[in-house]
């Protein structure tokens, strides 16, 4: 029996007249990696923002471990166990790599403010920070100023910071974008390992990576959920092929060189999918 950690039901978010997310339902289970696909502007980052509390939804509910968390703020959601990374690198550029992760780890021990203890004397947070730095492949970089790292390393640091918060649910917005192929391979292996004890939502354009690691794939187009299911079913789904992968045969798209698919930016979802008849949940 898998454990559903995060359940979002019929989430919608409008920006003025634009429906960035409409009736999106998603379930994240422990032990599973759920990939979120979609062309540019489909609403993937918006979906993550809704789940992480960065944006309040216009309507819909979010439950975490059975508890309604729809009204919780971003810090509150982080503290219950939902961690996220950002598509646009969002780190403390002026701090060392170690301090970035130490602050992230310290966020788990906020009950007492401890105005007079030395932050560096809190050994457990420091150990945690060192451990996640190594886990994300940044060992030896602890004392570098984060802003001076290469782009790919900054992406690794983002992951290390989420890990330092001990999150049970990881919402990762294009973590592989900008990484070298070697780092990306390592990162995919890391995600594969992390998934065992956590639930992961992964937004990623690299089809090879997605089809290799995902247990479930959800496809968003124009803010609407087009299809959701196992990689095999998504690969075989005609609507996905038409709306998202274009005329290319999905087999070639998924086994291609790994470059982002040239998807139509604003393809209209085929009629008849709005009620979810064509979607399937894992």
């Amino acid at each position: 029996m898998t454990e559903a950690l995060l359940v979002a039901e019929r989430l919608s978010r409008r920006f003025g007249g634009l429906s960035a997310n409409e009736d999106v339902s998603i379930t994240l289970e422990r032990g599973k990696l759920h990939a979120l696909l979609g062309p540019n502007g489909a609403g993937k980052s918006t979906c993550i923002n809704l789940l992480s509390g960065d944006l309040p939804p216009s309507s819909g509910q979010i439950h975490y471990k059975g508890r309604d968390i729809t009204r919780l703020s971003a810090p509150q959601r982080s503290r219950v166990g939902i961690g996220r990374s950002y598509q646009r690198t969002n780190i403390f550029g002026g701090f060392t790599v170690l301090e970035n992760c130490r602050l992230a780890a310290q966020s788990r021990r906020q009950r007492a403010w401890r105005l007079f203890t030395d932050a560096c004397a809190l050994g457990d947070t420091l150990d945690k920070a060192r451990a996640v730095i190594a886990e994300a492949g940044l060992a030896g970089r602890e004392d570098r100023i984060a802003g001076t790292l290469s782009h790919g390393e900054q992406r690794q640091l983002e992951i290390a910071m989420v890990l330092a918060t001990d999150a049970d649910v990881l919402l990762l917005d294009e973590p592989l974008a900008g990484m070298g192929s070697e780092e990306a391979t390592k990162m995919v292996a890391l995600l594969d390992r992390l998934r065992r004890t956590r639930a992961i939502l992964l937004v990623e354009h690299d089809m090879d990576a997605v089809f290799a690691v995902a247990d479930t794939i959800t496809v968003l187009v124009n803010g609407q959920l087009l299809a959701s299911g196992s990689p095999d079913r998504i690969r075989a789904n005609v609507e996905v092929q038409q709306a998202y992968l274009g005329d290319e045969a999905p087999a070639s798209a998924v086994s291609g060189c790994g470059a982002p698919p040239r998807a139509p930016a604003r393809a209209a979802p085929p009629a008849g999918t709005r009620d979810g008849s064509a979607t399937c949940r894992a």
């Binding site: 982080s78 403390f92 701090f95 602050l103 966020s107 401890r114 203890t117």
Partner: protein, 323 residues
């Protein structure tokens, strides 16, 4: 935050200089030095907000003035008040004011934060200026300096210039030590994190509002400490202590000395008083000269005066080539 040897040596030398100052400085300079140190405490308290938490407040004088008024109002007219009661009371008054004002102003950000802190300090100014509460625009006198009374025992005498100087010096050292400790603590690290990237702090699970409020109250209490000493030093308080002009002045001290460093704030306060004093001896239009110095520092020493030694070393190394 660990100190290098030369910095440590310099700090000790400065401390030694300060502790022996009353033996070689004349009365006038002892009092001026006391004023510098008091404004130094004030500037350090603002630096906690501006330089460490990223909150640019233009209303910090409110907390300075509230404590100053508190001593003057609590003290009996014909007797000295008890220092051990009146000093905590004055600091508490400022801390409470900071708590209430902080709860409101910290809901805003950036330019709006500057605006509302300015608005609040103006309200506080007019509260004392336009009502009979604190003697209106004339202000009120503090006829006697408080006495450190414990039962019948008086440990020292603030009415005596040198002893007052040492009292201020000790408070300064305590406030400095407190700030350095707090900035090194987990709480202090969170403040610096908020300055660097508040959004990221929130997504890491920090309810940043509480931390900012904590910093605001602590800064208010320390500004109150300075305000208390200031009232005791000069023996009278006027609404001008809470004016936005005063708030701007202390912000300039922080910028002049260098933001994000308690020592910078001290240097800023010291040089501001020293420059004011020497320029006003030169000309009636000393404010013009003062403005020039500030502009020059901001343009050529963006890190403030505290960055000067590093700058000079850089220039020497570059200019002198290798030896």
């Amino acid at each position: 935050m660990t100190m290098s040897r030369p910095t440590m040596a310099l700090l000790l030398a400065v401390l030694a200089g300060l502790f022996t100052f009353p033996f070689y400085g004349g009365e006038f300079y002892v009092e001026m030095m006391a004023e510098m140190m008091i404004l130094g405490i004030f500037a350090m308290s603002l630096d906690l907000l501006v330089g460490f938490t990223g909150l640019v407040s233009l209303g910090h004088a409110a907390f300075f003035g509230i404590a100053a008024y508190a001593v003057a109002l609590i003290s009996p007219e014909y007797d000295p008040a008890n220092l051990w009661l009146v000093m905590p009371a004055a600091i508490l008054a400022s801390a409470l004011a900071a708590l209430v004002i902080g709860l409101l102003v910290l809901r805003t950000k950036g330019i709006y934060f500057i605006m509302v802190t300015l608005a609040f300090t103006q309200m506080a100014f007019y509260l004392f200026h336009d009502t009979a509460l604190g003697g209106g625009s004339d202000g009120i006198y503090l006829n006697f300096r408080p006495e450190p009374r414990l039962g019948e025992w008086l440990a020292f005498d603030l009415a005596e210039g040198h002893q007052f100087f040492y009292f201020v010096l000790i408070v300064l050292v305590l406030v400095y030590g407190l700030l350095v400790r707090v900035l090194r603590s987990p709480f202090g690290r969170v403040l610096v994190g908020i300055k660097e990237n508040e959004h990221r702090m929130r997504s890491l699970g920090y309810a940043t509002f509480r931390y900012k409020l904590g910093a605001f109250v602590l800064a208010g209490a320390l500004a109150g400490t300075a305000g208390f000493l200031y009232a005791v030093l000069f023996g009278f308080v006027t609404p001008e202590l809470l004016s936005w002009h005063e708030s701007g002045q202390v912000l300039m001290m922080v910028i002049l000395g260098g933001m994000g460093s308690p020592v910078g704030a001290l240097i800023g306060a010291g040089s501001m008083v020293a420059l004011e004093e020497s320029f006003s001896m030169l000309t009636k239009h000393w404010q013009l000269l003062m403005g020039l110095v500030i502009v020059a520092v901001v343009l050529f020493l963006p890190g403030g005066l505290i960055g000067l030694p590093g700058r000079l070393r850089g220039l020497l190394l570059k200019g002198g080539g290798d030896d």
